[in-house]
């Protein structure tokens, strides 16, 4: 399962990053192994996606999200 498959308002944990393009930047922005990510929403045209990571909002394209392997976390809230 990759970050792309996580629906808005779902949480997930990063297992592995396979991104090649922008890899360093993605890691430096705090997307590292075991980091928890909350998917906020998709842009009105369906791409890019907005996520909450380490307490701030980050947007990235699905092309990159597709290369980030995650596991979905069950909702604790709601």
């Amino acid at each position: 399962m990759t970050l792309k498959d996580i629906l808005p308002n779902q949480r997930c944990r990063i297992k592995n990053i396979y991104v090649n393009n922008l890899r360093k930047r993605i890691i430096d922005m705090g997307l590292t192994t075991n980091t928890e990510v909350l998917v906020k929403k998709l842009a009105p045209l369906g791409d890019p996606m907005e996520i909450m990571v380490r307490g701030y909002l980050l947007t990235l394209r699905k092309a990159e999200a597709r290369m980030i392997e995650v596991e979905r976390l069950e909702d604790q809230k709601q």
Partner: protein, 734 residues
């Protein structure tokens, strides 16, 4: 005097603090070499004096863009005595990442913990002493936007003995073993860490020998084999673990997460259905205010004021009884030219003002987020949308707006294609020609010009990206900053800085250009003597001679006579003057600019439909006016790029006009030529698309990569296989 550099994440309030620190003594100088400005100013407090350097914001010392590299190079080369690291307290975790990288070096660091007001609003608490103890450096809480704590920071800096500072950040044992291995070869912990993160690239200035390089690569290989985890993840992971531990100690969150204001605003602004219409509405409003009735009204008054002022000068000049050429130089050359350009000022100022507000408030990032998908198809990043849109008004502010783009290459591409967007000054040309020749279809003809401009701009963007600016990745990964209410002071500072830039340009480069053009159009041979000409004699001027001389060049693209050529040449000063010049040259009585229909008759006599359409297309696509060229020069900061762009635009304009005229004059004129234009664009577009699909994006393949040997990144092909396999498994399970 000691040098203090301000370093922090983008949007963390560096420039606000810079203004706060340097205050009224501020000396803002542009540093040459790179487009984005580095500013330096003086801090004076009692007998303490320091040079403060404001550097572009960075998330990490590993950089992906040129202007980020300025900052990280600055740190790596140790060009300062002290770093003020601005940390956004409302986003401690990610901001501390850069702090930790800075603390890897030996350069003394003082942390300015900014945005304390937001932290308080979020009902969080930060234990400042504990943070200072954990990091081993002084931490000063400030709220730069409200000037709180800035005074304390200055006082602290004046007394602080930073030479004694020592950094003692240590990472996980796994990371430290590798750092030690590299440090043994490099004899410097900081360089070892930089090498660990960025590879050999970072060591280039050291000019290591081949053997040293080989030894480093071998060590790197050995170390990377030791780790289970991806090697490039070891250090960042450990750094973030450290940061998390520190944050856990210093940060107290009072109760549960509150829904922040930003979140509430974004529920509407980036809403699935409302997001796009709202974006369109905001853009429309900005345009409407700048170029609609209000902007025009202000401009009219402004122009009246200028005209009045200039008429005073004219009278003054006349009364002084100077030589005729001197008074002509002053009235027609200097002030005539300046009036044409300064007439834009009110509209520009309005645009700049709204751009500042959109930028400062944080909406600009949302606009990029919304538009990214559309622009990506043309190799542009979402952020390129706004500059291109402004280009419909005027290229000059549009080019200034490209600075909001991240990458130098993306900025170049955007700047290069902006002139193709049909600016406001070109509209009268279409109006006159379409009105004269296309009767019922005149609106369609004018509209098709705008479409043609967009198509050429987008195709050019793809072409540049695939050929000369391959490193332009149009990458997209962007933080959405918290919304902030723009402060009056900052908004006006921003606006004023841009207006000032425009005025300075008008006063320097443009002035010289106007004088040259004035000379060419007001001097010439009449009856064998070289003398100053009257307004109606422009046909005999040197420019007229040039126009006649160049006519054979323009005939293939449908220019009927030298008058058309001369009119086009004067368009390089300002596109507005094309219609006016045509009026003078065709001997129209009255003001052709204010009443375009006066020109209908002579145009009908001289032009066929295809010729007129080709003329319009050439006016649209050819090299922009001098003001735009000057703006372009400022953004590129390079004559090479400027000349290339100008030449490119001339060639494109010529080829398109040539195609329109040649095909259009074959058969039934206009309709056919429009159809041809569209068909040609479609063919070129589809072939370019194929090209893109085949070539793939920049870092998607190692097969054609020149640095593949030194690249320690895992291969994308391997990932793709793994991901595909996993996805197949996921689907099976479902």
């Amino acid at each position: 005097m000691i040098k203090i550099a301000l370093i922090g994440n983008p949007n963390s309030g560096k420039t606000t603090l810079f203004n706060g620190l340097t205050g009224a003594n501020q000396f803002v100088g542009n540093w040459p070499g790179v487009t984005v400005e580095k500013k330096s100013g003086k801090l004076k407090y009692k007998d303490f004096e320091a040079e403060i350097i404001d550097l572009p914001g960075i998330y990490s010392l590993s950089t992906i863009s040129l202007e980020e590299e300025i900052s990280s190079r600055f740190v790596i080369d140790g060009k300062m005595d002290l770093i003020i690291n601005i940390v956004d307290a409302s986003n401690l975790e990610r901001n501390l990442y850069l702090t930790y990288q800075l603390l890897d070096s030996d350069i003394p660091v003082v942390i300015a913990l900014n945005c304390m007001d937001i932290v308080q609003k979020k009902l969080e608490q930060i234990n400042i002493e504990e943070l200072s103890r954990a990091l081993g450096v002084p931490v000063i809480p400030i709220t730069a936007s409200k000037k709180k704590g800035v005074e304390e920071l200055i006082r602290f800096l004046a007394d602080y003995d930073f030479a004694k500072q020592e950094h003692h950040i240590r990472y996980s044992s796994a990371a430290e073993t590798s750092i030690a291995a590299f440090a043994e070869l490099l004899r410097d912990r900081f360089l070892a860490i930089r090498f660990f993160e960025d590879g050999l690239k970072i060591l280039e200035p050291l000019k290591l020998s081949q053997e040293d390089n080989a030894r480093l690569i071998a060590t790197f290989q050995k170390e990377s084999d030791r780790h289970k985890l991806d090697f490039d993840m070891v250090l960042p992971n450990s750094r973030y673990d450290e940061i998390l531990a520190v944050c856990g100690r210093v940060l107290t969150k009072n109760g549960h997460d509150l829904v922040s204001d930003t979140e509430k605003i974004d529920r509407i602004m980036t809403h699935k259905w409302l997001g796009l219409p709202l974006f369109a509405l905001i853009m429309f409003l900005v345009f409407f205010l700048a170029f609609g009735p209000i902007g025009t009204w202000i401009t009219d008054w402004f122009v009246k004021g200028i005209d009045f002022f200039f008429s005073l000068i004219e009278d003054l000049v006349a009364s002084l009884g100077m030589m005729p050429w001197v008074s002509s130089l002053i009235t027609n050359g200097v002030f005539g030219g300046l009036a044409a350009v300064i007439g834009f000022l009110p509209q520009l100022a309005i645009l700049f003002l709204f751009m500042s507000i959109l930028e400062d408030s944080g909406y600009m990032s949302r606009a990029a987020f919304i538009m990214d998908r559309l622009l990506r198809k043309f190799g542009l990043s979402g952020k390129a949308f706004i500059p291109m849109l402004i280009g419909f008004g005027c290229s000059v502010p549009a080019m200034a707006a490209t600075r909001t783009l991240d990458k130098d290459e993306d900025r170049k591409i955007t700047t290069m294609v902006i002139p193709f967007m049909s600016c406001g000054a070109k509209a009268p040309i279409y109006g006159v020609f379409a009105g004269a020749l296309f009767f019922g279809a005149s609106y369609l003809a004018v509209f098709s010009m705008y479409v043609l401009g967009i198509i050429v701009a987008l195709l050019s963007a793809i072409a540049f990206k695939k050929t000369i600016l391959k490193s332009a990745s149009a990458n997209y990964i962007m933080e959405l900053p918290e919304y902030r209410v723009p402060t009056l002071k900052n908004t006006f500072l921003h606006t004023w800085e841009r207006v000032k830039g425009f005025l300075l340009k008008a006063g320097t480069i443009l002035l010289g250009a106007f004088i040259v053009i004035w000379f060419l159009s007001y001097f010439g041979f009449v009856d064998g003597t070289f003398r100053l000409l009257q307004d109606e004699e422009i046909g005999s001027s040197l420019l007229g001679v040039v126009g006649r001389f160049l006519l054979p060049v323009f005939q293939p693209i449908g220019f009927p006579d030298w008058q058309a050529t001369v009119a086009m040449l004067t368009g390089f000063v300002a596109k507005e003057s094309v219609v006016g010049t045509l009026g003078i040259l065709y001997g129209v009585a009255g003001n052709a600019v204010e009443n375009g229909s006066l020109l209908y008759e002579p145009i009908r006599a001289a032009f066929t439909g295809a010729q007129a359409y080709a003329f319009m297309a050439f006016a649209l696509l050819s090299t922009p006016c001098i003001a735009a060229i000057a703006a372009m020069k400022k953004e590129f900061n390079s004559w090479k790029w400027l000349l290339f762009t100008v030449a490119y635009e001339m060639i494109v304009a010529y080829l398109v006009a040539l195609a329109i005229y040649q095909v259009g004059s074959l058969g039934s004129g206009v309709v056919l030529s429009i159809a041809f234009g569209i068909a040609a664009a479609a063919i070129v577009y589809s072939s370019i698309r194929k090209f893109i699909v085949r070539r793939g994006a920049i870092c998607d393949s190692c097969s054609s990569c020149t640095v593949a040997a030194d690249c320690h990144l895992p291969k994308k092909e391997d990932f793709q296989a793994q991901i595909d396999k996993k996805e197949a498994k996921d689907i099976d399970q479902d």
